[in-house]
């Protein structure tokens, strides 16, 4: 870690109230607010708002500043313009202090207590750059004594307190207004890298408006995975508040059984509207699933998440089929064999393929006993089968004994946790 020179740091609590001095050594006023202009630069403080005597607030651009220190800001010129609010400016005190942000590194929602800025050389001039956001007791200590004790004294007494801060690049502001989000260039690129289960915890920690903002700005695929992990009540709230076409886009990315569960909880009209906005294929699939009662095998199953082959197929055929279904490989553990009519015949544990020659018929590798449930089987019966036979994947067949879908152990765990 680079050694940071304390002389080159300035806390936002110190910047607020810092005297501003004209080139002639005349004191103009004090800093009341600082703003970043994310469209120009992601770190540099672009404007300083100065409050003088009276009520007018002046705006100073970053290139009007000669030098910055804990003693004050020295200006290079005297061109002061009255401040007008601009939506594309990120006001550090108003928009950031005391607000919640997402720490992409620590994967949680935190509240900002203070901010650390670094004094950077820019040719002859000096600029302030956002360095870290403070979220711990140390920042709280500074806030408590801000304006009461002189800054050097506060700096000395805060020494024993353990710092707790987040580097600026890991900070994700949450802005519910989509237009302002655009103006402030807020993107959640870093959040797309976080595991959806962690993202779901973050979503659950946020107030409703912020939740929607976050889900809306994630990649659809990530949003879908995150939404799957969020608890059902919140999942419902989010889906209901999204635009129907946005909700449709996200649901298309979800596993059909999860999407059907989510839609099943919604009011009829709302879920129909979303279904209408979806692509035809997934909509039909989900529509079919919605026909099943939630607590039956049909309601629990995934109609897509399996690979089925003809009962005369060989290991080579199976490998070919798997090559065409890469997206399933992460969780696949059983292959199903069917007859000409798509009726379920046998189940083959995936691992047995590895030890068999390429030309071996799959039927020879199948389990001795074929386990399956009808689509209308009771949820409890399904759970019982999983427990009794220790299966990981269970086939579900329709009235004509055709393979309709599969239930996997994680579906069962979700049902059990939901109880």
């Amino acid at each position: 870690m680079p050694v940071i020179d304390l002389e080159r740091l300035l806390y936002l609590t110190e910047l607020r109230g810092l005297p501003v001095i004209s080139p002639h050594g005349e004191r103009i006023g004090r800093v009341v607010e600082a703003a970043l202009a994310p469209t120009e630069h992601t770190r540099r403080v672009a404007r300083y708002l100065v409050g003088g005597r009276g009520r007018t607030r002046f705006s100073i651009r970053h290139d009007q500043v000669r030098s910055i220190s804990i003693a004050g800001i020295l200006l290079a010129d005297e061109l002061l313009v009255p401040y007008h609010h601009d939506e594309s400016l990120l006001l550090l005190c108003k928009d950031l202090l005391d607000q919640q942000i997402i720490d992409a590194n620590g994967r949680k929602v935190v509240r900002v207590t203070d901010m650390t800025l670094s004094i950077e050389k820019a040719g002859e001039r000096e600029e302030l750059w956002a360095l870290e956001v403070d979220v711990g007791v140390r920042g709280a200590f500074r806030r408590l004594f801000e304006g009461v004790a002189p800054p050097p004294l506060i700096r000395r007494f805060q020494e024993p307190i353990k710092p707790n801060s987040i580097p600026w690049e890991y900070c994700n502001l949450i802005e519910p207004d989509p237009l302002r989000r655009l103006k402030l260039r807020i993107s959640y690129d870093r959040l797309n890298q976080i595991h959806p289960a962690d993202l779901a915890d973050i979503v659950e920690d946020l107030p409703p408006a912020e939740r929607e903002a976050l889900i809306e700005s994630l990649d659809e695929e990530v949003a879908a995975e995150t939404l799957t992990e969020v608890e059902p009540k919140i999942q419902l709230d989010i889906l209901e508040s999204l635009d129907a076409d946005k909700a449709a886009d996200i649901l298309e990315e979800m596993a059909p059984d999860e999407a059907a569960d989510a839609l099943g909880e919604m009011a009829e009209e709302a879920s129909q509207e979303i279904l209408d906005d979806m692509e035809r294929a997934p909509a039909a699939e989900i529509g079919e699933l919605l026909e099943y009662e939630k607590d039956t095998a049909g309601g629990m199953m995934n109609p897509r998440g399996f690979v089925a082959l003809h009962q005369n197929a060989t290991v080579r055929d199976a490998i070919e089929a798997l090559r065409g279904n890469e997206e399933l490989l992460e969780s696949l553990n059983t292959l199903f064999l069917v007859d000409e009519e798509n009726r379920l015949a046998k189940a083959v544990p995936l691992a047995r393929l590895f030890v068999a020659p390429d030309a071996a018929p799959l039927a020879g590798l199948a389990l001795a006993e074929l386990l399956w449930v009808p689509v209308d089987a009771d949820g409890d019966r399904v759970i019982e089968l999983f427990d009794k036979y220790n299966v990981l994947t269970l086939a579900v067949v329709d009235e004509e004994e055709k393979l309709a879908g599969v239930i996997t152990a994680d579906d069962v765990i979700s049902v059990l946790r939901g109880r």
Binding site: L97, D98, A140, L144, E146, P207, P208, E210, D237, E268
Partner: protein, 410 residues
Amino acid sequence: MTILRRLRRQIAIFFAVIGPGFITAMVDNDAGGIYTYSQAGARWGYLPLWTLLPIMLVLVVTQEMGARMSAVTGKGLSDLIREEFGFRTTFFVMLALLGVNLANVMANFAGIATSLELFGVPRWVSVPLGAAAVWLLVVKGTYRVVEKIFLLACGFYVAYVAAGILARPDWAEAAFSSVRPRLILDDAYVAMLIGMVGTSVAPWMQFYLQAAVVEKGIDEKQYRESRVEVVVGCVVMTLIAFFIVVACAGAYRHHPRDISSAAEAALALRPFGRWASLLFSAGLFNASLFAACILPLSTAYSVCEGLGFESGVNKRFAEAPVFYWLYTSLIVAGAAVVLIPSFPLVRLILVSQILNGCLLPVILIFMLLLANRRDLLGQWTNSRLYNAVAWTAAAVMISLSLSLAGLSVV
């Protein structure tokens, strides 16, 4: 199928919102509240009953405002104070809340001690056991289970209705007094009125209610159902208060006098049968234990939220150490004080009420300021008429609370 689904949804919404408003209103009748109402009935008979309707109005107005604010913003009161008024303000409000609520926790453990002593259980048994039960319930249970137990505890308040009926009061007189304001220019009478109103809205209630609304995930769409729940809760709370006053008025009808604890009122009900007395003390025990559960939880939660520490019963100890330490310390300190021999318990209850009265004005003003912020609540800000009622109610509450505090100090 569709109609069935829609109906199921409607019912589900109502049950989804029940909890916060009801629980908050009921816990308002804690050890301190019960003592105040008992004392009023024992000394002044049915006369104080007319204050209950205005009390109900004040309660409905403040609770509704809090619930609305949280349903719309999805944030608790301490979050809102922090975001809108900054760290330093929040810090001092939280410090005050911590102190005031500690006194309240103590008062309720005192209630547990005195009520169980009527059943022959010594306090060195009842208080540690109560404290352990309270601690375990929240630390080992999930909020959903805890809330169900709380709702069950609400049901036990019916003991006061039974005790009130068993005391064979003069119902006609009681009904008449409920709607006929009587002002007597007597120091003790005025102090009693102030106490009645002053105890009805406590600072911690606002924090608890708002946090519970958020925890429950109630939003704008469910707010209508939630409002019904809040109002019903306030009405039921007022009814319980009515029966407490009536029970004591009945018990002391022949020789009205000052009493020094709610337990004394329970003893006075003995002539009306063992049940009347037992029910009254069981009610006191239930109310005290209930409040002793909610107060430390609500306090730890509000303080941590406001100051930015991790909080919540669904977090593990390592994730939210400050929350759990605060919660545990409040219970241990609250219970330990009661065990100090010859500790003035009645005085303690009084002190807790005075402190409530001092902090309440600050909280009410914050709430009113927040409830009028269009950028926060949009179309849900207070209407002008509502504001008029709310500011008047707040002004009355503030002056009464402060005079209660003043009177008690003198």
